[in-house]
Every structure is written in C-alpha cells, then in structure tokens.
C-alpha cells in the first residue's frame, strides 16, 4: 500500500481536515472568492438581502422576525455548506501536500566545479545544468539525470513504494527525483530543473489545488449554470410585478427563498468539489495528473494504445507445452528438458523447470553422482545443456539443434519440424531438446497473457473504447497474442516512430488517443497523445512529455484512469440533472404558499399538503441546503461507473438522477415540514 493511499484512508475521518474545512467554509464567504461561483454568489447576495431586511424589520417592528431569521440563517447555511464541500475536497489534498513538503525540505548539495572539486551549497541554490555528486545516505537535491554511476534509490517519499529502485546512467533508468534518497553507491547527477519547478513542486501544487484551473467542460457547465441562474432571476424578479397586479405582493424573504430554491445550488455548490475529488481519486491510485484537462480528456478516450510487453503479457516468454517425438514419451522429454534447464538462469529456462515440475511432478534430482558438466548458454553455441556420464543433453533454437544433430549424422524428424512451424504460427517460440544425437521433442515458449485482460478489454469495448496492442513482434506472433488477449487491433514490428504515426492517424479521424510510455523514444508519442501516461521509472523526457505520471509504473493503470475520467463527467452530469429536476417539487411547495393568502384556490397546487405557507417555504429552503451536505460524499466518491454501453448507462442515470431528482424532494420537503411542525418551529 502506498503512502498516498494511507494518507487518504486516514484523511476521510481526520478531525484536522474536518475542522480545517469548517474554518475554510467561513473564510470562503469572502465575496471576492465566491464571485467565481456565480450560483453561490447569487445565494450569498440573497442571504445579505434577507439579513438586511431582517434587521430593518427588527428596527421598525415590522414583523416576520422569526420567519425572516430562519430563512436568513438557512440561506447562510446554504453558502457555508457549499464552501464546506469544496474545503473538504481541498483538505484531503492539503494533507498529502504536507507529506510531500517534508520530502522537499532543504538539503545540502555537493556541486561539482569545473576543476573537478566539489563545493557544498544548499539545494535551493542549484540551477538546471549544474552537476552534483550524491553518495549513499544522501538526499538527491533536485530533479535530474544520472550521468555517471549506478545506485539504488529509495523513492518511497514520492511513490510510497519502500523497495529501492536502481538508477543508472544512460538508458531509460537514468531519471532521479529530488527528495529521494540514495541507499548505496555514488552517482553523478545533472540537475534538470530550477527550484520551484521540480516534479515535487508541481505535485504539491497539484494536490493542493493551488494551480487548479477550470477544465473546459467545467467552464461550459459553469456557463450553463450561470445562464439558468439568470433565467430564474428573471422569473423571480418579474413575478413581483405580476403579484402586484394580482394584488398579492411578496416579501423579500419569500422572493429570495424562491430564487435560491430554483437556481441550481446543488450542482453549483458541489461542482468544484467534484473536480478536486476527481484529481484526488487519481492520486489515490498513485497517478499524478499534470492538469484537470487531462483527467477530463481521459473520459473521452476512443483508442487505447497498449504496449504488449508488461501490459498485456507478463513480460517474459514462458514454457507452456512439450511436444515429444513419436517414439519418445512426454516424461522422457520432460526429464531431458529439466536437466538441460537446471543451470539456465534466464526466465525462459526457469519457466521450463517450473512447467516440468507442475505438469509432470519431476523435482530437481541429485546429479552429483552423474558427474554433470553444465553448458551455459553462449552466443557462439546458442545452446545450453548438460553433459553427464555418457549423455549430452542440449536445448536450443531449432536451427541450432538441427545443426548440432546433423553434425552427428542425424536429422530432425519431419513431425517435429511440423510442430516447430505450428508453434511459430501460433505466436510462440519453439525450442528443441536433444539427447546425444537424437532429437527428443520440442518445447513451446509463449507469451502469457495476464489474467483478466480479456474481461477488461470487453469492458472497454462496451464503453466504446478500442484497444490497440503495440509490439515489436512479427505480425504472426502479434496476431496470435492479440487474439488471445482480446484486443481489437494490433501494430506489429512497431518502431517508436510508427507509434507516433498511428496516433496522428487516429487523431485525424477525430479520435482521442491514450497511451503509456517510459522511454525517451516514447516522448514524442506521449506528447502527441491526448492522454499520455508516463511511468515514474521512465526517463525525465518521458515524464515531461506525458500529461500524467503513474508513480507505480503500472501500464494497465491506463484503464483505471479512463474510468476515473468517465466517473468525473458522470458525477457532474448526474448532479446537474438532479439539481434541475429538484425544481419541480420546489415550485409546488413555494408557489401555492406565496399566494395562499390572496387566492386560497391555489392551495390545490399544494400537493404535498404542507402545513402553513411559512413552513412550506422554510422546508423548501432547508431541503435545498441539506441536499448539498447530503450529496458531499457522492461528489467526493463519484457516481459509480458501469462499463456498459452509452444507451444503457444513460437510461440508468436518467432514471436515477432525473426521475429520482423529480420525486425525491417531494418526500424530503414533506418530511422537513412534518418535523418543523412537530418541533413547533413554524
């Protein structure tokens, strides 16, 4: 479990975060802050208006004090609740930023001078281009690249993973992050970022929400909400002249209550919390998104490019089957294969031993009595094996073994050649095993597809996302693995530049493409992709190019990222729909209450049979405020995403949040009315 995850678990019930959020919800009452949220700004203005009216009434003994006081209080609560939702979402990020900040603490750095000597300076004085020496036990003073040496590094401050990782110069393992600690050896690091711009700095900014900008969809939604607010403002402002014409003018308390109930306060109050929580959910999964825009885009992804090795398959070829020659038993072949592999430390070799053990129950034997001489794999012989007593057992590629037995006057049986061809055609790698001059049979090495991948790809397909496997294998092998894993398409014999071309091609068709990568040669493609997830183990260039970094360096994470993106959008849509649908019931509560005095006949619209006009209006206002608090957990957790087709998802969510949004407040308002009446408040 990562430290990020631990922080998260702690934070939900953390009193500190809770009390911090309560304080923050008052701080956020500042009109300069709240004006960024037009809906809540209108509520605040309404609350000020009713408060002023209340004071005026009190001074002039104009009545309606109790009612006015309660309305005003609940309007202030509405604003506070919305602020609280946002503060809660931010608070969880702040807690994490705190831990990260500790890792960023000032350290000393040994800067290399041109003459080869070193000087000790504080880490904040380092600039990009400087070179430093870091020894075992020291903190790496800033982001950079190893230019000399190899060391094991503890990166738990960032990834939460306690096992040390190897960092070495050259290749794709050269990037180091400031704030991580060297455990062994000494490395020379070239610093690549200036103070304040390091990876850690950016992470802190992101989790704190300091650099949080509104995403495109959030901006559009805000416009919609502002538009709806203006429409309702018009409806309420013009209602007063109509009421005057009808001979039943309304008080400020009632008009403001109606307005606040109609404008979409539920979504208006929760919108930024939903966005922050979405980023937060990524952080919980140890993914750092460089912008909210990227999270949103991940919900829209049409094509996932997945590297075969490590993502779809386990990464190494493994022995999966033995094919003996006609006159040889499987056990004989298994025994020989085991002997030939005992000293083979490659993953392939070990997998043969494992297969033989599991399938044929052959355990390792005491060979010392037989005088064994192990022949390790070498580039010249291209075989491995063992010589014991009189027998020479060999294992190797078909051509090599064919040559080996041919030198001894034998040839490979036709049946075996046939099997070798079949294995290749199926995407596997064939090996032959021989004893002395005789070929005993073939071993099939195949890529093993990770468990559960097919189901995940089926889910993705149901979501409307096409998966594409990228591999350096030949088309035949690629096709076989693609078929087994259930991906929609594959790109075989892929070179880095092919990846780029593929992304461009898909994008030209209007599709959004997501991919993962870690190497420097992945960087252009990562930058080109709409969602580019760089592995934390990857190079600095890859991390710069992508718009997300996966701290666990797990390529399958991409699927979860897509789900989080979708969840974020669904939560927004669901709460918007719910908020607007709520208005129907509020009208039925407030309109009859407004005119019940002048026109008792309108009482027929009071279908909830609310007790008094005051209690009806107050109940609607209270419901409107409480629903924000009630939905905070949903906003932070997100609406559950189901990998079904869009039509099914829409039907379900419309029913739940649309129809539910129409019905729920009828019960909610009635319940509050009953409680208020029971408590004797109105």
């Amino acid at each position: 479990m990562s430290s990020a995850g631990q922080i998260r678990k702690k934070s939900f019930g953390d009193r500190k975060i809770l009390s911090g959020a309560v304080v923050d919800s008052f701080v956020k009452l500042d009109p300069r802050t709240i004006v960024k949220n037009p809906v809540m700004f209108v509520v605040e203005v309404g609350a000020v208006l009713t408060t002023v009216q209340l004071v005026w009434n009190a001074v002039h003994h104009a009545g309606q004090i109790g009612f006015g006081l309660q309305i005003s209080l609940w309007l202030w609560f509405t604003v506070l609740f919305a602020n609280f939702a946002e503060a809660m979402a931010e608070g969880r990020g702040k807690a994490q930023a705190e831990t990260l900040r500790k890792a960023r603490a000032e350290t000393e750095a040994r800067r290399l001078l041109p003459d080869g000597s070193t000087e000790v300076i504080v880490s904040s004085a380092l600039r990009a281009g400087d070179e430093v020496l870091v020894c075992a036990g020291e903190f790496i003073p800033g982001d950079g690249e190893v230019i000399e040496g190899v060391a094991s590094v503890d990166e738990s401050a960032i990834t939460g993973e306690s096992a040390p990782v190897i960092r070495e110069s050259g290749g794709d393992r050269s990037a180091v992050t400031g704030g991580t600690r060297v455990l062994s050896d000494e490395i020379r690091v070239r610093i690549t970022s200036n103070p304040g711009e390091t990876f850690l700095d950016r992470m802190i900014h992101l989790v704190e929400g300091a650099s949080r900008q509104k995403t495109p969809n959030e901006i559009a939604l805000n416009i919609l909400l502002a538009g709806l607010t203006i429409i309702f403002l018009l409806a309420v402002v013009t209602l007063q002249p109509f009421a005057i014409y009808a001979g039943a003018p309304q008080s400020i308390f009632v008009l403001v209550s109606l307005l606040v109930c109609l404008i979409p306060t539920t979504i208006g109050g929760l919108l930024s919390a939903i966005g922050i929580a979405g980023m937060d959910r990524l952080i919980q999964r140890n993914v750092i998104a460089m912008s909210g825009r990227a999270v949103e885009a991940s919900g829209d992804v049409d094509v996932l490019l997945l590297d075969k090795t490590g993502t779809i398959t386990l990464g190494n070829r493994q022995a999966t089957a033995l094919h003996p020659c006609p006159n040889i038993t499987e056990v004989e072949l298994a025994s020989a294969a085991q002997l030939a592999s005992l000293a083979d430390e490659t993953p392939e070799g070990r997998s043969i031993v494992v297969l033989v053990k599991e399938k044929y129950g052959l355990r390792g034997r005491e060979l010392a009595a037989h005088n064994p001489t192990f022949i390790p794999f070498s580039a010249q012989t291209r075989m491995s094996g063992v010589d014991m007593d009189v027998h020479e057992i060999r294992k190797g590629a078909p051509e090599t073994i064919a040559k080996y037995v041919a030198e001894r006057g034998q040839e490979v049986p036709a049946e075996i050649l046939e099997i070798v061809k079949d294995i290749s055609n199926a995407g596997g790698t064939p090996l032959l095993v021989s004893q002395d001059r005789r070929v005993l049979g073939a071993i099939a090495l195949t890529d093993v597809v990770k468990g559960g991948m097919r189901e995940r790809f089926d889910h993705l397909r149901a979501m409307g996302i096409r998966t594409m496997m990228i591999t350096g294998d030949n088309p035949l092998t690629a096709a076989a693995i693609a078929r087994e894993a259930g991906v929609d398409d594959f790109l075989a014999e892929a070179k880095p530049e092919d990846k780029m071309a593929l992304i461009r091609k898909e994008q030209a068709k209007g599709k959004l493409v997501a991919m993962t990568g870690d190497g420097t040669n992945d960087a252009p493609a990562l930058a080109q992709a709409d969602v580019g997830v760089a592995m934390n183990t990857g190079t600095q260039a890859a991390k710069e190019a992508g718009n997300m970094v996966d701290l666990d360096s797990n390529p399958t994470k991409l699927i979860e990222i897509v789900e989080i993106g979708k969840q974020l959008l669904i939560t927004r849509g669901a709460l918007t729909t719910f908020s607007v649908a709520n208005d129907v019931a509020k009208y039925f509560a407030i309109i009859p209450a407004m005119f019940a005095g002048a026109f008792p006949q309108l009482g027929i619209l009071n279908i909830m049979r609310l007790r008094t006009p005051e209690s009806a209006i107050l109940s609607a206002v209270i419901f409107n405020a409480l629903i924000i608090i009630a939905l905070v957990p949903l906003a932070l957790r997100g609406v559950r995403y189901r990998p079904v087709g869009a039509a099914a998802l829409l039907r379900r969510n419309l029913l739940l949040y649309g129809a539910g949004g129409v019905i729920a407040p009828f019960f909610g308002i009635k319940l509050i009315d009953v409680l208020l009446t029971y408590a004797g408040i109105v």
């Binding site: 969809n217 203006i230 979501m463 599709k511 669904i570 208005d583 129907v584 869009a646 039907r651």
Partner: protein
C-alpha cells in the same frame, strides 16, 4: 369529445407523417443543389436572376457574412414595407381609398411581417390597400419564410459539415427556397383554395342589402346611446387565395381579413380548414427529415420529429378536452355534443368547424408559430387557452415556424445533450460534434433573450397604466392577455388573445421590439452555434457515444423543453390561466 373529432386529429397526424419524408427529401435536394424535377424550368430562370443581381453562386459564406446578408435583406425589406404602408394613399390598387397607415402601426406591422410574426394590430380589410397586401405583406410572407428556412438549413449544415467555416450562400439559398419550395407549392395551393370558394379578385368592396335588417345600439362620440337600424352590409373583397396559401405554408398567419381563418372568404369549408393546417405543419415537419438526411442520421431526424409530435399530441388533447367539456358555470345548459350541436365551449368558435377542428387549429397554429386562427383563443376556457400560451412559451419548437422551429429545437437538443450527455461519461457530443462552452453560451443566450423579452415587457405592462389600460378583462385573464401578447411577439407567432387593445403607442412599439428581439437576437446566437459546429472535427460514433436517436433521446428532449419552459413560466402561468381556472371552478369568471 367525439369519435369523429379524435378521428380527424389522428387523420391529420397521419397526413403529416406521410408528407414528412417526400418534403424532407425534396428540400434536401434543393439546398444541396442536387437535381430536382423542377430544374428544367427553374434552373435557367435562376441563372438569369444571379446574372442580373450579380450574385456569385459558387461563393460560400462564413456565418458572420451569412448573418449580415440576412440582416441586410430583412432590413431593406422592412423599410420597403414601411414605405408602402406610409404611401399607399397615392399608390395604385387602392379601390377603397384607404389613407396612409399611421407611423406607429406602420412600424409595428413592418416589424411584425419581417419577423414572420404577423401580429396584426389592425383590421386588414379596413386598413391596407390591395397593393400593400400584395406587394407589402404577401411579399414578406414569402421573404420571411424563406429567411427562416435557410437559417434552419445553415444550422443543419453546421452540424453536418466538418472543419470548415463555410456555410453556404444566403442569396442562393433564399432564391432556391423561394423558387423551388415556396412559390410552386403556393401556386398550386392557391388554386385549391379558390376551388373551395376563397375569393381572388381586385374589385372594390361590395355593398349588399340585408335580408333581415338588424337593430343595434350605438354610442356616439357625445356619449349618448342611440338605436340604429342597419339595412346594408359591406362585403370586403380582394386577392385572398394567393395570400392564404403562403400565410399557412410559410407559418406567417397574417390574415387578409381581421377574422383571419374564421372568415368564410379565407376559410370557407372543412376541407379548406384541413388543408390549411396541413400546410402549416408541412415544412416544419419536413425539415426534421432534412435534418436527419443532411446529417446522415435519419433516426435522429425522426427522434426530433417524435418529440415534437408528442408535445403536439399532448397539447391538442388538452385543448380538445378543456373545450369539449364546456363551461362548468353553465351547469344548467346542455353542453353535450349531439347530432344537432357540437357541444362544449362554443364561445368564439365557428359553427362550421366545431370543437375538434378549433382545438386542432389552435394547437397547430401556436405550435408552429403561425398565428392564423379559426377561433378566438381569448374565448377559450382558461385551461384550453393556456395550451396555446404554453405552446408558444416552449419556444415555438413543437414543429415551430418554418425553419425557426428547427433551429429552435436544435438549441434545446444542445442543452439536453449537454446536461444529460455527461451522464454517459464523455464530454457531450451531438452527432459527433463536441458541445463546448461557446456552444452552451450561445444556446443559453438564445433562450435568455426570449425569456428576457417576454417576462420583461409583461412585467412592465401589468404595473404601468399605459399597459393595463389596454386590458379588456380584469384579474388573471387580463394577465393572460398581456402575457400572450409578448409571448406571441417574442415567439414570432402573431396570434392574439384578442381582448387586448394592442393598437396603442406602447403595445405597437413594445411588441415590435419584442418581435425583432425574438427573431434576430435569437437567430444570431443560433448562427454562431452553426458556425462554431461547422469548424469542429467529427468524432466517430462508438458504443460509448451519447445516443441522439430512439425513444430515450426523444423523451429526454421532451423533458428538457418542458422543464426549461415550465420552470421559467410557471410563476406567471400560476397567476394567469391556472388561477383563472381555479377561480372559475369556485364560481368566479372574468
């Protein structure tokens, strides 16, 4: 309600369904400039028109240029109509020697006909010369209809095209709309109307002796009431049939006579009545098919059609039910339908048409932003009269005006897609086009303009003496009259709760402004949406794409229209028709 009445309503809807596809395909071909059977005759004429006017038919416009051309065309046409009205006294074809139209009325009428509203604060037969009717008003009936249709086509192109800023040529689109769609069908329809007895002449009005002299009481200018015996009647004449066809087909609704389609010379027979309402829905319904065809999603076109048809059906059912039920205050009277009487509330309705056809006409004309009437909506029962009011409040999108209905519903489609689209876990898309903040902003602006115009003017009118003095019935009915005037103006409908005296300085000016705002300030954001959509890429469809076809989408669209409309206008409605209805049940009428 009678089986016969239901049958007529059902038969009407069936005819509209059958017309939708052929008309939709025809319009698609006309505006895509593909071959049609009319080409051999019309294409040479079209070429000559362009040569004479210097229009380059290959030139394609961006949305801003298109909007400018449209505004220029409408502005010049409006000025021309104003000029004709103001000088008709000196111009030919004025056998009744009508004086020049007053400036306020002339301006209001010019605005009203330019915006396809056809709100009439005058009686045609006692105000407008034949020249004004033909060259002024009928011209606008064609021109404003053509403008509406081509704007809808531009919006459809905006959805269908990709990665371009070119949306077509206004002059070419308008010319083709007039020559291929409006003129040929109106020519044939006029002859059908003549066959039914609609007059078509340029004769002076006829004076005839009454068979049965009538005694009437007249209040003179001195306030004294005298009794007079009337022995003669003036029967108005005119080129009516030619105007009748475009009045309905272009959803204009401006009657040649004050009584509009209730007048026997405009609408003499049950068949002419049926033919009129078919003409009203023909283009708006056909355009939904054009939408589907041009965007390559025929099922989307039908889903939009279904949403419209559903709202229409609910409306007509309510009006029919409310009117057939009669007036509960006349409990002692036999109001049942029988072989001898149509039953129900017959006040303000023609005996020729009865309840079902009056209810159907009222629903069709207010759904479609037409405004022609064959009965007086002011005399409907409160709930019966509320339906026409709501139909217009919904934004004239239930089939709607020619073109206006389609681009109006696209605004609601965008809102529906945006609100609910998120719930499938993608940023909202409409037929492959991502709906972004600019589109939402423009869609909200279009809706805001309507709301602002309707509620703003009504609120002023009900508290200021210059507004309330025109109200003929007190109480909630008066509020309905004022609301209806502005709803009808902003929605470019043009029908009226006739009780309101609209020929005053305030109403002439304010309704004219409402009409201009409702048309042109609505159109500009809509064109901006079209321009913006056309620039976007098309995201290919997948299993994760928001479905804009089928019953689910249609019901989502219906809910969006109803919720936005209802939430905006429910307070006003509750103090108007709803309160009036409840007071009526309590025995109080206005």
């Amino acid at each position: 309600m009678t089986a016969n009445g239901w049958f007529q309503i059902a038969f009407y809807l069936l005819v509209i369904v059958l017309l939708t596809k052929p008309l939709g395909i025809f319009m698609t071909r006309v505006f895509n400039r593909e071959k049609t059977f009319l080409d051999p005759i019309l294409r040479p004429v079209e070429r000559i028109v362009y040569r004479l006017t210097g229009v380059d038919e290959k030139h394609e416009m961006r949305w801003t240029e298109y909007a400018m051309a449209m505004l220029l065309f409408s502005g010049v046409s409006m000025a021309l109509l104003y000029l004709i009205e103001r000088t008709q006294k000196w111009l030919p074809l004025n056998p009744q020697n009508f004086p020049n139209v007053e400036p306020g009325l002339a301006f209001g009428t010019a605005a009203s006909f330019t915006t396809n509203t056809n709100w009439q604060a005058y009686s045609g037969e006692s105000t407008m010369s034949y020249l004004t009717q033909m060259a002024g008003l009928a011209y606008h009936n064609f021109a404003s209809a053509a403008v509406g249709i081509v704007l809808a086509i531009v919006v459809i192109r905006g959805i269908a095209r990709k990665e371009t800023d070119k949306l077509g040529n206004f002059w070419v689109d308008a010319t083709r709309c007039l020559m291929w769609v409006l003129l040929p069908i109106c020519l044939v329809s006029s002859l059908v109307f003549v066959s039914q007895g609609v007059v078509q002449n340029l004769k002076p009005y006829a004076t005839v002796q009454l068979i049965e002299p009538q005694t009437v009481q007249v209040t003179g200018p001195d306030g004294k009431t005298t009794t007079q015996t009337v022995t003669q009647q003036v029967i108005a004449q005119g080129p009516v049939a030619s105007q009748e066809a475009i009045k309905e087909f272009g959803t204009n609704g401006g009657g040649f006579f004050n009584a509009n389609s209730a007048h026997p010379f405009e609408n003499p027979t049950p068949f002419s009545n049926f033919f009129q309402i078919v003409l009203i829905f023909a283009i708006p319904s056909g355009l939904t098919y054009t939408l589907g065809r041009m965007t390559g999603s025929q099922r989307h076109g039908w889903a939009v059609w279904a949403a419209m048809a559903f709202l229409f059906f609910v409306g007509v059912t309510t009006v029919y039910w409310a009117e057939a039920r009669g007036n509960p205050l006349l409990a002692g009277t036999d109001q049942r339908a029988s072989a001898l009487q149509s039953g129900g509330n017959m006040e303000g309705k023609e005996v020729r048409f009865g309840i079902a056809n009056s209810a159907l006409f009222a629903t069709v004309t207010t759904d479609a932003s037409c405004g022609a009437v064959n009965s007086m909506h002011d005399s409907f029962t409160p709930l019966g009269g509320m339906v026409p009011l709501i139909n217009i409040m919904l934004g004239e999108v239930v089939f709607g005006g020619v073109g206006a209905g389609l681009y109006g519903i696209v605004v609601f489609v965008i809102l529906a897609v945006f609100i609910a689209g998120l719930m499938v876990g993608r940023t909202p898309e409409y037929l492959g086009k991502k709906i972004e903040s600019y589109d939402v902003k423009m869609a909200m602006l279009a809706i805001l303009i309507l709301t602002f115009t309707i509620l703003g003017f009504s609120a002023i009118a009900v508290v200021k003496p210059f507004g309330t003095s025109s109200i003929s019935n007190p109480g909630p009915h008066g509020l309905s009259q004022v609301l209806y005037a502005y709803v009808s103006s902003a929605g470019n409908n043009g029908s009226a709760f006739a009780g309101l005296n609209a020929n005053t300085m305030w109403y002439n000016t304010s309704t004219a402004i409402a009409q201009l705002l409702g048309r042109f300030f609505m159109v500009i954001p809509v064109l901006a949406i079209a321009g913006n959509l056309a620039k976007k890429k098309i995201v290919p469809e997948s299993a994760g794409t928001f479905p804009v076809t089928g019953g689910l989408f249609a019901s989502l669209l219906v809910s969006t229209i109803l919720i936005v409309g209802a939430l905006t206008f429910f307070p006003a409605l509750s103090l108007g028709p709803i309160l009036e209805h409840l007071l009526m049940l309590a025995g109080k009428s206005f």
